[in-house]
Symmetry: C2
Subunit: 216 residues, 2 copies
């Protein structure tokens, strides 16, 4: 990423979890309490649902536009779900990060792998349920789905869980408030890493050490 | 460090700062609020002062014992200050860490370098003052020292500051409570790193993934 040495580039947080672990609620709560942290906005070919705002919930684009973006290599990751396509575009992420905002990307393990290839500094967090029983309960609690559907979700959840060893941090969502506090601690600590802090306090450090004394 | 895969080894935090940055007060406050975090106890050849307890404030040893420990390579770092010697013994640190407690080592940049050689996983934090003026004010505030003494301390502080690029985290102590909260976030986040968490939640994860599914 080309940037001047004084620019404080944002941090890209990648959060994965098996469905039912509570990731989406946790990330929503995290975004409410943490300033300077934004949710990545995906591109999609599906039609907006009532209340969805273009550029806020999704970038809604035509299928042909999406295909052209694929051909351009714009997507860090994309997936086709039934008749629709969803993707995370690299230029959109870089723009937010270069502005100095931090980003959260909610993504599965396959997407996370692709993100790591383009953003080596991405900070990856896995949110796990405290037990299979808790997971099953949450997956059942969602509606009146058949046992077969729930079993399918459980298999998918296990597959996602089996990749937790690819992540830097692990948050176990047993108590929502504890898990939220843990996510906040990770965000806070990553912001305290020396290169970022040196960039943030560059003027004060230059005064203390001389202009040659500090390098981000 | 030989340990069974299920053992959760403690984290070694190394904290350095120029004199006057407020490191000692911050670390003291951190130890009061964080459970499972202990201050490393140094060995010294100096006599106990009134109120000092052997094994708590220092391990008080005879000069000959200290020299024998040096010969044995027991010290991660040691220093001679006037007629006394002070040192951090590796076996004492390992014992605490293997018990699963986390440790804080207050040490200068030279000591920190030596610690990193023996404890590659040590987490290093540098505490900086917000400005030279703040530092000078704090160094002057300590007593009725001469300008020359204060100038000497300032030079030493600048030397310490010039090594902040060897540290993983940088905390700027402008507001004590903010700096303390930042130290707490670093401790919390380091405890949430995946290998530690996998060890901590090994039973739950084995239940979810099967015993072969997780490795610390």
């Amino acid at each position: 990423m080309a940037e001047s040495p004084s620019a404080v580039s944002g941090i890209l947080f990648v959060v994965s979890a098996p469905s039912g672990a509570g990731k989406t609620s946790l990330v929503r709560a995290l975004l409410e309490v943490e300033q300077g942290l934004k949710l990545s906005v995906s591109y999609t070919t599906r039609a907006p649902r009532p209340g969805e705002v273009d550029g806020e919930h999704y970038h809604f684009v035509a299928g042909a536009t999406f295909e052209a973006m694929i051909a351009d290599g714009a997507f860090v990751e994309y997936a086709r779900v039934f008749d629709n396509a969803y993707g995370t575009a690299e230029p959109a992420l870089r723009e937010v990060l270069q502005r100095g905002d931090d980003l959260v990307l909610e993504i599965d393990w396959q997407g996370a792998r692709q993100v790591r290839e383009r953003f080596a500094d991405a900070v990856s967090i896995f949110v796990a349920p405290p037990s299979l029983a808790a997971l099953e309960q949450r997956l059942q609690g969602r509606g009146q789905d058949s046992d077969a559907v729930i079993a399918g979700r459980m298999a998918k959840a296990r597959d996602e869980l089996s990749h937790l060893d690819e992540y830097q941090y692990l948050v176990v969502n047993d108590d929502f408030d504890v898990a939220l506090a843990e996510l906040r601690a990770i965000v806070a600590a990553e912001r305290l890493r020396r290169p970022r802090q040196v960039a943030r306090y560059q003027r004060a450090l230059a005064e203390m050490l001389g202009p040659q004394g500090v390098e981000a």
